[in-house]
């Protein structure tokens, strides 16, 4: 079935957009490719253009290569496309004459419909790539936000070390992602389950991400393996970005990298103020492993995404921007790390927790704003398409959830007879943002307020809980990212309203098409309990997988280089002993514990 969908989707979608001389059959193929009409639809799919020269309009009935990422000459494939020349044609409006005096540039009088179409397609891909890149720039800047929040919440004597961890995680994780992470996560991205009519918004070149491993290899009409698996496990292409030098793949690589960077930096908060630097270094090179494996399962076309098609669990695991993939994974790894490390010296006395106050609250507040700003890239950028106007809804949902979380965190503190501790208000906003990250594209604004509002309540109780049972989390990372990441994943299965995401992960169910006109992502409140089961499965998997991977890694890494600093170093402060530089050399920096 997969091969039919892949060939069909570009025909159907682009055919729906414009009636063009390319394919007279396109206008007829409006119905989504359900089981009933797949045979009729596949018979009318046109063959890719093979003989037309590069700069000539393909003959009627032949499609340009970017329709299905096909190449004119199979011996010289057009993809990976390193320059973007194969993603439509760049419009060149110009009145400047050619050297022979004839008018140059794209003059309206000389353009055929097919020429116009080429330029429109190129602009489509361009808007989407530009949007994705800029959104990714915002996400990259979140590293500064994390650095500020974490360092501000820790003690001055550890400022240098905490900042250095947050700084260096970016280069370490980036290189690891380039070396092996991207390949594992997205090497087989093109063979994942997709909605009928799906087009790679970043451009046709992502079709080269077509190699992976899994269970139950799928076969094409001739019985040969076609690269897809019923239960995808890992990608196996794109290590060191080899063989995927394509402009669309580059955009995807960049965007996915900055997301992984977010996961990578979360444990540095939970494990701050006693994590030995050398152990952190090897962690930074390892983090791509658990992240990208699990990301493959949810986003890379793997078995959790396929749970809808395989096991009738809604649309499979749905995680729009990564409450599970990014935040739950980061928070869970942080939990295991904090637990393996043990509490900071002076944190507990006779079993009772003692406060270790933040040394720089203004840094925490500013850092929180930087993170909230970065989230405006994190969530709407995950459409990978500036032309998908749903981004405006995503932005509003994101904003509402964040502010609701801050407010309910404050109200929760007041209800407990406590003062509105600024560090908890910040945790509340971040918890709301984490929780909305998975459902942001699929819920009404009232649901965003509820999801974020509950997140603000959960985070307060969670921070108190972990502290009480002896897990020392200096910044609340476990509560903000772990607990509320899981909440965000579940929230999809509760509040998704079915208005968006038709055919997500390749699931199109007739009963929903009949009842609602399309099979969008919907939760139990809107009639689809199976989506909640899919989300629960997703939560269970990330928890078990994250705990096991993190525990094994931290235990093994401790044998390579000790995970915790010595008692003397911890009491003096990690700055000079671990990284050779004081955060505040001109001040006498001590702490009471």
């Amino acid at each position: 079935m997969n091969h039919v969908f892949r060939r069909l989707r570009r025909v159907l979608f682009l055919g729906l957009l414009l009636a063009t001389p390319y394919s007279s059959q396109a206008a007829d193929d409006k119905a989504p490719a359900t089981a009933e009409n797949k045979d009729a639809a596949s018979a009318s799919a046109p063959a890719p253009a093979t003989d037309a020269k590069k700069d000539e309009t393909p003959a009627p009935g032949k499609l340009p290569g970017y329709f299905d990422s096909s190449s004119e000459d199979p011996k010289k494939p057009d993809y990976p496309d390193a320059t973007g020349a194969k993603a439509g044609t760049v419009a060149t409006p110009s009145g400047i004459s050619n050297s022979d005096g004839s008018p140059g540039g794209d003059l309206p009088s000389g353009m055929k419909a097919t020429d116009l179409y080429d330029r429109i397609a190129h602009n489509l891909f361009s808007i989407n790539v530009v949007w994705t890149l800029i959104a990714g720039f915002l996400v990259m800047f979140m590293q500064a936000g994390f650095a500020m929040v974490e360092t501000g919440l820790c003690r001055a004597k550890n400022a240098g070390h905490t900042m250095t961890m947050n700084f260096l995680i970016y280069p370490l994780a980036c290189i690891a992602f380039w070396a092996y992470g991207f390949g594992i996560g997205w090497g087989n991205w093109n063979n994942g389950p997709v909605a009928p009519g799906w087009v790679s918004t970043l451009g046709p070149g992502t079709a080269v991400l077509n190699s992976g491993v899994g269970i139950d290899a799928q076969k094409d009409d001739k019985g040969a393996p076609n690269g897809a698996y019923k239960y995808g496990l890992l990608g196996t292409k794109g290590f060191f970005l080899k063989d995927v030098d394509d402009v669309s793949v580059m955009a995807l690589f960049f965007f996915m990298m900055v997301f992984m960077d977010t996961t990578a930096t979360i444990p540095t908060g939970a494990m701050a103020e006693r994590w030995a630097f050398k152990n952190f270094l090897i962690y930074g090179l390892w983090i791509a492993l658990p992240y990208c494996i699990y990301a493959n399962w949810v986003w890379g076309g793997g078995w959790l995404a396929q749970a809808g098609k395989n096991w009738n669990l809604g649309h499979g695991a749905v995680d729009f921007a990564g409450s599970g993939v990014v935040h739950a994974m980061g928070g869970i790894i942080g939990l295991v790390g904090a637990w393996v490390l043990g509490a900071r010296i002076g944190k507990y006395k006779d079993g009772k927790p003692l406060p270790i106050p933040a040394h720089h609250l203004p840094m925490v507040i500013v850092g929180t704003f930087i993170l909230a700003f970065g989230w405006f890239g994190f969530n709407p950028g995950s459409t990978l398409a500036g032309t998908d106007l749903r981004i405006s809804t995503v932005v509003v949902n994101t904003m509402l959830a964040g502010v609701a979380g801050a407010l309910t965190a404050m109200l929760t503190l007041y209800a407990k007879g406590l003062k509105p501790d600024p560090s908890m208000l910040c945790n509340g906003m971040l918890a709301g943002l984490v929780a909305i990250t998975a459902p942001c594209a699929f819920v009404d604004s009232w649901a965003a307020v509820v999801i974020g509002g509950l997140a603000g309540v959960f985070v307060v109780f969670s921070v108190f809980f972990w502290e009480k049972i002896g897990i020392d989390d200096p910044v609340g990372a476990i509560s903000v990212h772990g607990i509320n990441g899981l909440w965000g994943v579940l929230a999809v299965g509760i509040f998704a309203n079915g208005k968006y995401g038709a055919g997500w992960n390749g699931v199109v169910r007739d009963e929903w098409v009949k009842a609602a006109g399309s099979d969008g992502v919907r939760g139990i409140l809107f009639g689809d309990a199976s989506q909640l089961y899919a989300q629960a499965l997703d939560c269970a998997v990330v928890t078990v997988f994250g705990v096991v991977m993190a525990y094994v890694w931290f235990k093994i890494s401790n044998l390579i280089t000790p995970i915790r600093v010595s008692k003397e170093v911890e009491i003096e402060g990690l700055d000079m002993p671990e990284v050779g530089a004081m955060g505040y050399p001109e001040f006498i920096v001590t702490s009471r514990n």
Binding site: K352, P353, L354, P355, P357, L418, K419, D421, S423, M424, V463, F464, E467, K468, G476
Partner: protein, 112 residues
């Protein structure tokens, strides 16, 4: 010669400095300290952990005076630093065996 160490409230520093200048005291050393006496602290909660805020920030002024200036200076400090509330501070007077001016090497009362 006597050394005076006066622990006073933060915001009283300018008042005390002005009053000492009018009194003829030309130099002093100031440090930021924490402490408590009868002004007890109170309890606060930070992220679920309750704790006692006992040490309170204060200013310590150190001045060196000749024996005949002592009584006047003590009176000046008390007047300018007082608010009448618990926590106004304390003054400690100790005997000073010698004072040396580093630039010139002179010692004794002329070095004050």
């Amino acid at each position: 010669m006597k050394k005076i160490e006066a622990i006073i409230r933060h915001f009283k520093l300018d008042d005390v400095k002005k009053a000492l200048n009018e009194c003829g005291i030309k130099g002093m050393t100031v440090t930021e300290v924490r402490g408590f006496g009868r002004q007890k602290g109170h309890n606060e909660t930070y992220r679920g952990a309750e704790y006692a805020v006992d040490f309170i920030p204060k200013i310590k002024i150190e001045v060196v005076v000749s024996n005949d200036q002592l009584k006047a200076v003590l009176g000046t400090i008390c007047t300018s630093a007082k608010t009448g509330q618990v926590g106004d501070g304390k003054i400690f007077v100790s005997e000073l065996s010698d004072v040396v001016r580093i630039r010139t090497g002179e010692s004794g009362e002329q070095a004050i």
